[in-house]
């Protein structure tokens, strides 16, 4: 049981939770995720760690209220307990001094991107961050991202904040201005697919962090398998980050829909 010590709404459906987990706070690295389960009959869902405080012994999760489980989690309040929390899982991000790093976050994807940007900056990189979302209220963690970035580009689909256009527009602009040595893209799968196609044009080495369906998160079930470079890999133990130019994003998107009907029905029942 892990206690929630802080809760903050970034927008109506995006919530930051700070949760007591001293061992995970100590051992986690940028790129790691945890599995969370709410209630005895709850589902195990993977969530990437967006920050940690070793002194306080806490980790931060940023959760978008999409389905039943994410709602159950974000319906909890300060002082409540998360039934089960396990981690840190997955391989950590490969951090080194690449030169100039382009970090692209779409929607809540900015949250897992934050610790990577911090680590990249500390490793001596010049960091250009792009925060992209549908509209102004969905742009999150801007101040924190600015702290670790040399330059921040904000993109909104409706032009309500920053520049109008999707993430690739911002990416093209950044790439045109200077030489990019490495790109990281995290966000909805469709966004990662097109961001990856953009960097491929310019042959910029790129990693994407996948957030597939998982059950155990430790390599046991294989629900998270994806095709990378023609081979089947497990996101939970081989990832979550892979060479974006080799990921079969279409397969990822198809497999994400495996339980679409069940999820829709469960949500209708839950919100009734």
């Amino acid at each position: 049981m892990n206690k929630i010590v802080a809760k903050e709404y970034f927008s109506e459906n995006v919530v930051r939770l700070e949760i007591e987990a001293p061992l995970i706070a100590k051992s986690r690295k940028a790129g790691n995720f945890v599995i969370v389960k709410i209630g005895d009959k709850g589902e195990r869902i993977p969530l990437t760690i967006s920050d940690a405080n070793i002194e306080k012994g806490t980790i931060d999760l940023v959760v978008q209220r999409i389905g039943v489980s994410s709602r159950k989690l974000t319906d909890l309040n300060v002082g409540d307990y998360v039934t089960d929390l396990v981690g840190p899982l997955g391989r950590a991000t490969e951090i080194e001094n690449f030169g100039t790093v382009l970090a692209c976050g779409g929607g809540v994807g900015v949250a897992p991107l934050l610790p990577i940007v911090e680590a990249m900056k500390k490793a001596g990189n010049r960091v250009i961050s792009i925060l992209a979302a549908r509209s102004k209220d969905l742009i999150i963690l801007e101040d924190q991202m600015r702290k670790w970035s040399d330059e921040v580009i904000i993109m909104t689909d409706d032009g309500s904040y920053g520049e109008k256009g999707n993430v690739t527009v911002g990416m093209e602009k950044a790439i045109a201005k200077e030489k990019i040595d490495k790109a990281i893209v995290i966000g909805p799968t469709i966004m990662m697919k097109f961001a990856s196609l953009t960097t491929k044009k310019y042959e910029i080495p790129t990693v994407a962090s996948l957030n597939t369906i998982m059950v155990d998160g430790t390599g046991m079930c294989g629900a998270c398998r994806v095709t990378v470079d023609g081979k089947t890999r497990f996101v939970c133990v081989d990832g979550p980050e892979f060479d974006a130019h080799k990921i079969d994003f279409d397969e990822v998107m198809t497999r994400m829909r495996a339980y679409k009907a069940e999820e829709t029905a469960a949500l209708a029942e839950f919100t009734k």
Partner: protein, 489 residues
């Protein structure tokens, strides 16, 4: 147990008397007991009710009478944990059921589990003298289960006595059968024992893998509760090698570590269409249903795909469990696809028999070639290669060879791949200094279970790469005895 100790127990007056009560000839004439079972029609409608209902007191006593109480009991040689089989069987005949369970518990920490899932036909019962006399072996497994169930149902489960605390701390990585057996022996020896488990439930494969119709969770939990009463500390949601490092375990004061992290990684066949929606590992299928409660009534958040036409690939116990589970999930057809013949099925004969009774279609001498999907990326059919048996291979079984050009396509909206598992890589990749085999297993001394890192012992599937509950328990016991020796030095 030495020959002398076995004989001394056999020579106790009550046992002499009991032997004389009935002649070996009369004992030989008794029929082997039949375990009462739910009818196939009924049992495919329930997840939690056990197929095998257990022996009554009368049945157990009658079955125990069949045992000849040999002076040199060969059955014991077949038991990986060395249970004094004739003693507990004769105690049952003598209606001393509490004595019987006490005898079993001297060497086995999970009798209710072993009585249900051990392959007795290959172990104790496979070594029973009666087989040589052309009789059916004594139903040792049924009797073990009876003794354990009798104790649990009487509500008088007794935690075995532990030695005074010796001030040393040990831990396990994992909470499956090898780790539980290790924990039981070490707590009895006076160690402080902590069990670290990655999942949210204790029990490992006993919980996520074996379905409740074969091994109810309540039975596993009762055994775990006994260990808890003995003082074992259980820590779920903790991944050694991730949450806590080897170095941190030492900072926490652990003197010895037993790794029983199991064979976690499911194998796939790497054939076209295997990543379609609806193709999944048996680990995923069984975990969703057994551990997460998917498809098992109200309130469970985890979903699972329910196929109409289910194909299960493989011929082991896990394949049988998956096929029988699919039937209980309401599948119209369940086809088990296995590349060798019926005689070569590695599953226990009893499981095969139960599966056949429940209407599983055994499509032997077929091997999946590829899967086809619909426009939504969901599997719709399986293309199978027809096989025939060739020359015996290294395992002694006749190896399957494809019949050139002969294939068959069958409808499949759910495919469960149960062709085996590989060792969990978390400990091998996170503990420095271990010797790791090509297969990814941890190399240990065969007799000591000690790894290349002196204070790390290992057993079960992380060493064997895929075996049985009882072999894992045997490893746990061996590791406990040897770690005790090592820590006393």
């Amino acid at each position: 147990m030495t020959k002398e100790e076995i004989l001394a127990l056999r020579n106790e007056p009550w046992r002499d008397e009991l032997r004389k009560k009935m002649s070996p000839k009369d004992r030989g004439a008794l029929e082997r007991v039949k375990m009462p079972e739910l009818t196939p029609d009924y049992r495919v409608t329930t997840f939690t009710e056990e197929v095998q209902q257990g022996l009554t007191k009368e049945m157990a006593v009658a079955e125990a009478q069949r045992c000849l109480d040999c002076a040199d009991p060969s059955c014991m040689k077949g038991c990986p944990v060395g249970i004094n089989i004739p003693t507990f069987v004769k105690q049952i005949e003598n209606e001393d059921f509490e004595g019987a369970i006490a005898t079993i518990k001297l060497t086995s920490s999970l009798p209710a589990v072993c009585g249900r899932v051990c392959p007795q036909e290959k172990q104790c019962e496979g070594n029973c003298i009666k087989l040589k006399m052309k009789q059916k072996p004594v139903a040792i497994g049924y009797l073990e289960r009876f003794a354990a169930d009798y104790e649990r149902e009487s509500g008088k489960m007794k935690a075995p006595k532990c030695a005074p605390k010796n001030g040393k701390k040990v831990c396990t990585v994992g909470s499956g059968p090898s780790a539980l057996a290790f924990a039981a022996d070490m707590i009895k020896l006076g160690y402080d024992v902590t069990v670290f488990e990655a999942l949210h439930e204790i029990g490992g494969v006993l919980k996520y893998g074996i379905p409740e119709f074969r091994l109810p969770n309540s039975v596993v939990d009762a055994e775990i509760n006994t260990l808890r009463e003995m003082g074992v500390d259980f820590q779920p949601n903790t991944i050694v090698g991730k949450t806590i490092s080897y170095e941190q375990l030492h900072e926490m004061g652990f003197d010895g570590i037993f790794v029983g992290s199991g064979a976690g990684l499911p194998r796939f066949m790497n054939i076209p269409g295997e990543n379609l929606i609806g193709v999944m590992s048996s680990n995923e299928y069984l975990t969703r249903i057994n551990l997460m409660g998917a498809g098992r009534g109200q309130g469970f958040d985890t979903p699972v795909l329910k196929g109409k036409n289910v194909v299960v690939c493989g011929g082991g116990n896990t394949a049988m469990d998956s096929a029988r589970t699919a039937k209980r999930m309401g599948a119209e057809t369940v086809t088990l696809v296995y590349r060798r013949g019926l005689d070569e099925l590695p599953a226990r004969a009893e499981e095969v028999h139960h599966a056949m009774e429940e209407g599983i279609d055994f499509h032997v001498l077929h091997n999946p070639l590829e899967y086809h999907g619909d426009e939504n990326g969901r599997v719709k059919e399986a293309v199978l290669q027809v096989m025939e048996l060739g020359e015996p291979d290294a395992s002694g079984r006749r190896s399957p060879v494809p019949v050139e050009g002969k294939t068959e396509t069958i409808p499949a909206d759910l495919v469960v791949v149960a062709i085996g598992v590989s060792p969990n890589p978390i400990i091998p990749t996170n503990f420095k200094g271990l010797e790791i085999s090509k297969k990814g297993t941890i190399v240990v001394g065969e007799e000591t279970m000690q790894s290349a890192v002196k204070d790390v012992f290992a057993g079960g599937d992380i060493v064997r790469g895929g075996a049985t509950v009882i072999l894992a328990m045997g490893d746990g016991r061996k590791a406990a005895a040897n770690m005790d020796e090592y820590l006393k030095k």
